[in-house]
């Protein structure tokens, strides 16, 4: 049994260090008491407390002690190992100790911050310290495994985030593959007319970047494609991509659009997705003039040839490049990359979930995205604000927080709605001269020049009514309300309820995770927060990293975010990927498993358990062997081995048993 063994050996000399973390730990845990307690434990040669162990002086102290007191093991009681394990391993190494002769005790996140009674919190800290001191004796000298990093990068999602990340990486000389689900890159931004707070035109700043992507020698652009499988590990990912058929050969089409004119449908008659259904398109189409790549595609839902096979195919005939191929099938491609940037973006709130605002029931009610197209010079109305019934609105109401800040829909503030509502208010007023009312709960304009933009709108005479609109109805109580849409709201600053008749209602919809965010995160083996956005590794210190090394996130797939922040984050993600690649190699945690051959009974229990098929059976020796390059260190095999011949580094049975005894022994 473990404990006897530990008693026989002469105990290695342990150095114990406990951190106050300013007052973070010290305010709830009696640091001195723990330090004294540890000093008296068997094998402890040095026991110290210090205000900030992670600071340089703190690390120096450790390194110095290791040398002076010939310490053979190191235990630090401080914050979470997820934060500072590496720091103290380095300190150990500095002192000339193998970094894995170290064990960290989490008394901040797991004790000081979550308890209210100092006495019991201190007891807990003692137990955990005792366990670590007992465990660290069994630690072995280990070395990190180095593996080369593939210099190529995959960027998933071709919105402004993906575009910026791809260009940054490509400009640094890395080979980038940009995969986009839609037929063109550009994302939501491509649909906008102007951008807040500067009101510069979205197309003017976005389209140059889009064509730069297309023409960049280091970027392979795969639109109308989706990642279907991801294997491997940091620095060495194997990715499978499915490319949907466009029924037009991408390399042949030059985007002359002759085929669209030639289509048997003389008039466009199908819902135009890019224009939010406000415009119409033909079965053969291109999303918008600056679409990238500028390649047409055929919609199998509406194309007669694809549905019935009975069409004269004038489109194909009109194409002098012979680019049409109605037999085109989806194809799958594989690529090897070292790092992946996820920038899969967001979805806007589905207003059908808020029937009280009458979307779909009253033609005068629009979503913000629809209005983006409506005020867009290159939109279906060339920027003229015309309602579905052909009239021009004299009064417009913009309802903020639709699908935000509401326990019944989404609890969070979507962060961009206040600002884009201000922008739309300005544009609508500018394009139509209508009276514009903004109905807001709290005005959130925290960005650079944002408050100034709000001030500009106030000056333009836009009405700002602080209150959440209850409902939009066609119920008139006074003559001037007849034939109008009536919004009922409390003017909370005036302190009474108002009824405001308008011709047009704009629903400022909030931002949500993509509907398939859960599948995507599973595919890439990362996490999602409770609201469904991708989970960053640390909210402040690792905002673009994930818990899976080599996979980074940027833009609104991580949380609602506007363009400036998205671009900044995309740059950060690219930089993280670069620092990984340019290091040339990664050091993997040595927590892999290995088999002690003489103890292996050859029962084969472990072989099928390994999810990475790292375990093979040597028929000659009748023993199992583990390929440590493939092993990712979960330890499932170690737990299952009947003869106990499988050992997982850093999590050996001895280590865990002694830890169990440690936390319980009194």
């Amino acid at each position: 049994m473990t404990e006897n063994k530990s008693k026989k050996e002469t105990l290695p000399r342990v150095g114990f260090y406990i951190c106050h973390c300013g007052s973070n730990i010290a305010s709830m845990i009696d640091v001195l008491e723990v330090q004294k307690y540890a000093a008296a434990l068997p094998g402890v040669a040095v026991s110290r407390e210090y205000k900030y162990m992670c600071s340089d002086p703190g690390q120096e102290m450790i390194a110095k002690d290791i040398k002076e007191h010939k310490l053979e093991r190191l235990v630090v009681a401080a914050c979470s190992p997820n934060l500072h394990e590496e720091t103290f391993r380095k300190a150990a190494a500095k002192g000339g100790l193998n970094p894995f002769f170290f064990q960290m005790v989490n008394i901040r996140e797991h004790a000081a911050w979550v308890h209210e009674d100092k006495k019991s919190a201190t007891e807990k800290a003692k137990d955990l310290a005792r366990a670590a001191i007992a465990r660290v004796r069994f630690h072995k000298s280990l070395d990190k495994k180095r593996v080369a990093v593939d210099p190529n990068v995959l960027v998933v999602g071709g919105g402004i985030a993906g575009i910026h990340a791809a260009l940054t990486l490509a400009n640094a000389g890395k080979k980038v593959t940009l995969v986009e689900r839609e037929a063109t890159i550009g994302g939501h931004m491509a649909a906008f007319d102007k951008t807040f707070p500067t009101l510069d035109c979205a197309a003017c700043i976005l389209t140059p970047k889009m064509s730069a992507v297309k023409s960049h020698p280091n970027i392979t652009l795969w639109t109308y494609s989706e990642v279907s499988k991801v294997e491997g590990y940091v620095g060495n990912y194997k990715v499978t991509v499915t490319r949907k058929p466009r029924f037009v050969k991408e390399d042949l089409c030059v985007g002359c659009m002759e085929c669209i004119d030639a289509c048997v449908f003389k008039e466009p008659k199908f819902k135009d997705k890019f224009n939010q259904g406000l415009g119409k398109r033909k079965p053969v189409y291109i999303d918008f003039p600056q679409a990238t790549p500028k390649v047409v595609l055929v919609d199998p839902e509406t194309c007669i040839q694809l549905k019935t096979g009975k069409c004269k195919q004038p489109c194909a005939a009109a194409c002098d490049r012979k680019a049409f191929d109605f037999n085109q099938k989806a194809e799958t491609k594989e690529l090897q990359v070292g790092a992946i940037v996820l920038s899969t973006g967001f979805k806007t709130y589905d207003v059908a979930r808020s029937p009280q605002y009458g979307y779909g029931r009253y033609p005068g009610v629009y979503t913000a995205l629809e209005v983006e197209r409506l005020v867009n010079a290159s939109g279906p109305t060339s920027g003229e604000v015309v309602l579905r019934d052909g009239t021009h609105p004299k009064a417009v109401g913009i309802i903020h927080c639709v699908g935000s800040r509401d326990a019944k829909t989404n609890k969070w503030c979507s962060r961009v709605c206040c600002m884009y509502s201000l922008k739309l208010a300005h544009l609508i007023k500018e394009h139509s001269g209508a009276e514009v009312y903004n109905f807001y709960i709290d005005m959130r304009a925290p960005g650079k020049a944002y408050e100034e933009f709000y001030d500009k709108l106030l000056g333009e005479g836009v009405h700002f009514i602080r209150g959440r609109v209850d409902e939009v109805t066609d119920w008139a109580m006074t003559p001037e309300e007849e034939g109008k849409l009536v919004l009922r709201v409390e003017d909370t600053l005036a302190g009474f309820v108002r009824r405001i008749p308008v011709d047009m209602v704009v629903l400022s919809t909030g931002l949500e995770p993509q509907p398939d965010a859960q599948e995507v995160r599973r595919r890439f083996n990362i996490g999602c927060g409770s609201e469904g956005f991708f989970q960053e590794r640390h909210p402040k210190l690792a905002p673009v990293n994930t818990f899976t090394d080599g996979i980074y996130i940027a833009g609104a797939c991580q949380a609602p975010r506007d363009i400036p922040d998205t671009v900044a984050q995309a740059g950060a993600a690219a930089a993280e990927a670069l620092s990984l690649i340019d290091a040339g190699f990664v050091e993997l945690e040595p927590n892999t498993s290995h088999i002690v051959e003489e103890e292996c009974s050859g029962c084969k229990t472990c072989v099928p358990l390994c999810p990475y098929s790292a375990i093979t059976f040597d028929e000659a020796k009748k023993k199992a062997t583990i390929n440590e390059v493939l092993c990712k260190g979960c330890g499932v095999c170690a737990a299952a081995c009947p003869s106990g011949s499988i050992r997982q580094n850093l999590f050996e049975d001895d280590e865990i048993f002694s830890e169990i005894e440690g936390v319980l022994a009194k």
């Binding site: 959440r468 409902e471 409390e490 309820v497």
Partner: protein, 198 residues
């Protein structure tokens, strides 16, 4: 004559605020973001001296006098529109209820709202018969509060007679004894509670 509007901290009763949030239904009160959708959706807010939103804020700040003295709580018709709309799931209707109860306990409800009288007569009638005869209840109510308003109602009375929708004989249940035991038990429970406190 001008009325001073400034409020001093001494004017609010933090205990009252604590009490409201400690009651069933009052839990989420502190989370109110003052969006005012409760007032917007309330069919009665146009008659209220304070809109529901303002009342909520006054209650959580402890302006007991103003809250319990307000018409607002008596104008609530328990249509639950606010409760359904509230983005913070605040049970506004139930808060109105518990404020009514408190106002009655402290005897500060405005005289022109005979709801407490109605409730009392209602209770008395149930205790006697187990069921309520609307006609008797209404007559009783008006006689106790404002009898000439009652005269104004005779037209309706005649109509109800004509259409056989009005009877002057109270409906009663068989097992009145059982029901009384139940109600008495509750009173006893309440009493023991109060004694325990004092």
């Amino acid at each position: 004559m001008l009325e001073q509007k400034v409020k001093y901290e001494g004017d609010c009763d933090k205990e009252f605020a604590k009490w409201v949030t400690s009651q069933t239904g009052g839990e989420n009160l502190r989370h109110c973001i003052q969006c005012g959708i409760c007032s917007a959706t309330c069919p009665l807010s146009l008659y209220m001296d304070y809109t529901p939103r303002r009342l909520i804020n006054m209650a959580r700040e402890g302006f007991k006098k103003e809250v319990l003295g307000s018409f607002t709580i008596w104008l609530c018709a328990s249509c639950y529109a606010c409760r359904v709309e509230c983005p913070k799931e605040i049970q506004v209707t139930d808060i109105m209820y518990l404020l009514k109860r408190r106002a009655i306990e402290e005897g500060v409800y405005p005289r022109r709202f005979p709801i407490p009288v109605l409730a009392r007569e209602f209770g008395r009638m149930i205790f006697m018969f187990g069921r309520v005869n609307e006609t008797l209840l209404v007559i009783d109510l008006f006689l106790r509060t404002n009898w000439f308003k009652f005269l104004g109602m005779t037209g309706l009375g005649m109509n109800l007679m004509r259409t056989g929708r009005m009877s002057l004989i109270p409906e009663t249940i068989k097992n009145r004894a059982e029901l009384r035991k139940v109600l008495d038990a509750l009173d006893a429970d309440e009493k023991s509670k109060r004694e325990a406190v004092s």
